[in-house]
Symmetry: C2
Subunit: 360 residues, 2 copies
């Protein structure tokens, strides 16, 4: 589609990393969560993320930052992609997004970038577009802007964004200042957040001018800033790989939340716009079921209920277990319950401890 005028110079950055160990055995180090088709649509989470952004901006302005191991798989899933940035090693989200900011800002000084996780589920494209458009308008004023997702309930699985006074920004009538980012709350606190109306879910979406982000980095993480600027300067030339190899391993491994969002929010430099779309990070199999994943249709349930998936097409029978989670692949099988879904990562840890790198 044609990019709306307000989204000109807007670039999207998709950091594509993280195995998603709580979705083992579907997700593997070699085939992480973002590459998976979890809704049976034929499109992976990464492809859905791409599709949402592609509705708003041209392919040339969508960038993916990933590791060497997944570059080929991403190119295969996203044939339109021209802006693939390959990290020599994982350094968490700040170096990935900072590199994109430095590279994009070098050729487009007016650029506003937005970072979007590769492996989240969002429904309601119109509401997503509205939130992005407002966030870009706010970001142009020099604020680092996040999208606060209107809570669907008092979840204890997500961090929250606390909003303060309304901002007077043209084109962003719902924008407010961010007063704090808060960690995953207990159930009582979460309930109070939802009732109070000032808290929204932190979906990890940040929209900012590249120069604003780099200025914050220069102040808060000067070493990281210096390294990213050096890499960006060499990006378009023959020395990219040499400078990457020399510089990347020394960059501070840190998330954008801790490096920029939290300190800048305390300085009054962060804004939030509401995201009224449904959103989930699909952190485990309980979440996967909640976002609508259906059991394999030939599953036999005898006094049983839950989620039963067979990626190899075989038949599963469950007898006498409720809220069970059964996930079968060609080489492995997980049996657990919704209540234990978060502990699936312990299986991956145990398999690593046993040296079963073939299974993780």
């Amino acid at each position: 589609m044609t990019s709306p005028e307000s989204l000109e110079t807007f670039h999207a950055v998709i950091p594509a990393g993280g195995a998603g160990t709580r979705l083992w055995p579907l997700s593997r180090a070699s085939h992480p969560k973002f590459l998976l088709d979890l809704d049976g649509s034929g499109r992976s989470l990464l492809q859905h993320t791409w599709d949402r952004l592609r509705e708003l901006i041209p392919a040339e302005r969508i960038h993916v930052v990933t590791g060497v191991a997944h570059a080929d798989a991403i190119r295969a899933q996203l044939p339109e992609l021209t802006g693939l940035m390959v990290e020599p090693s994982p350094r968490d989200s700040m170096p990935a997004i900072g590199l994109a900011a430095a590279v994009i800002g070098a050729t487009d000084p007016d650029a506003v970038i937005g970072s979007f996780a590769a492996d989240h589920v969002i429904e309601d494209q119109q509401a997503f577009a509205t939130a992005i458009t407002q966030a870009v308008a706010v970001a142009r004023t020099g604020l680092v802007t996040t999208i606060g997702i209107t809570p669907a309930g008092p979840s204890t699985a997500f961090g929250y964004i606390e909003s303060g006074a309304g901002l007077d920004v043209a084109g962003a009538p719902s924008a407010r200042a961010v007063t704090a980012f808060v960690e995953k709350p207990d159930a009582e606190t979460a309930a109070a957040y939802v009732t109070g109306g000032r808290h929204s879910w932190n979906g990890g979406m940040f929209v900012t001018r590249t120069d604003v982000l780099l200025d914050h980095l220069a102040r808060l993480q000067p070493g990281l800033h210096q390294g990213l600027v050096a890499i960006a300067a060499a990006w378009g030339g023959d020395r990219r790989q040499d400078v990457l190899a020399a510089t990347w391993p020394s960059l501070t491994k840190i998330a954008i939340d801790h490096a920029v969002a939290e300190p800048v929010s305390l300085e009054g430099g962060m804004a939030v716009v509401p995201g009224t779309f449904s959103w989930d990070d699909v952190g485990d199999f309980a979440a996967l079921q909640d976002v609508g994943a259906a059991s394999s249709p030939d599953t036999v349930w005898i006094d049983g209920s839950g989620l039963a998936l067979a990626s190899d097409g075989t038949t599963i029978a469950v007898v006498g277990l409720d809220d069970v989670v059964v996930v079968r692949t060609a080489d492995a099988l997980l049996v657990t319950t919704r209540a234990h879904a978060q502990r699936v990562k312990d299986v991956v840890a145990e398999l690593k401890a046993r040296g079963r790198t073939d299974l993780v």
Copy 2:
């Protein structure tokens, strides 16, 4: 080994039928329980049954009665077997054992036969041999003799044999009259049986002179007797298949327990000798675990316990479920609990109802 003198003219009959639907997906109509290697020994239940008997008598005196579908698999598992009797269709245990009695008795008028299920688990060969030797001695006196298994506990999963007065039979000091066969009891009754000392488990092992059994049949099931005698008369000649085809389908479908053992016990014609070996009919996965089946060794247990089998060699992980039963084959997967092990047969019924004959 050399057959003991007391076991001369003793023949063993192994009726090999029944799919064992409560052991789905390991057991199938095409690959029933008796063909399965359930203890990882490399020998099937049928082969273990053969091995136990082969310790006592030569191969020529061990007979297997089965259906057309399993004849080839049985020949492959038991290369020494010469006495395979193939039924045109399943008619339950009385026609199978009665046919063996008629055929064996026609060539060996002094024959004593013992029937042994193909798919039970027995440990302690010496105790087994002692029980058989005593039972054969009692059977020679004209009593139909069963082996009453000393209960390992107050099981409600088995039928019981109630014994009466001791019998004075040379070579069978422990023999007693049978006063009744009783169905699977409730827990309170089972506890009383075990405390009382007069009840033993009915393992379905019957030892009898062929002429005694056929005389009982002539009186109690005259039509069945007539048919079996006609088939036995044609067994060694060219007309075997013709007579089988003409006669077999009309034979009464009945178990030996109902046809002979129960009515004869009421007439004082049944004896019991104790079997002090450990025995189980491995009726479901809970029983399979109880007889020592071990989970696949690479199973990952995270706050979980139970039985996890992968016949395809893949890795199973269980998180947060106790007493679970997980059984994976190349084409199917069962997830249940020990407490629901008996209901696994409902899966087979459901798959049949769906027309999934490929899976049952």
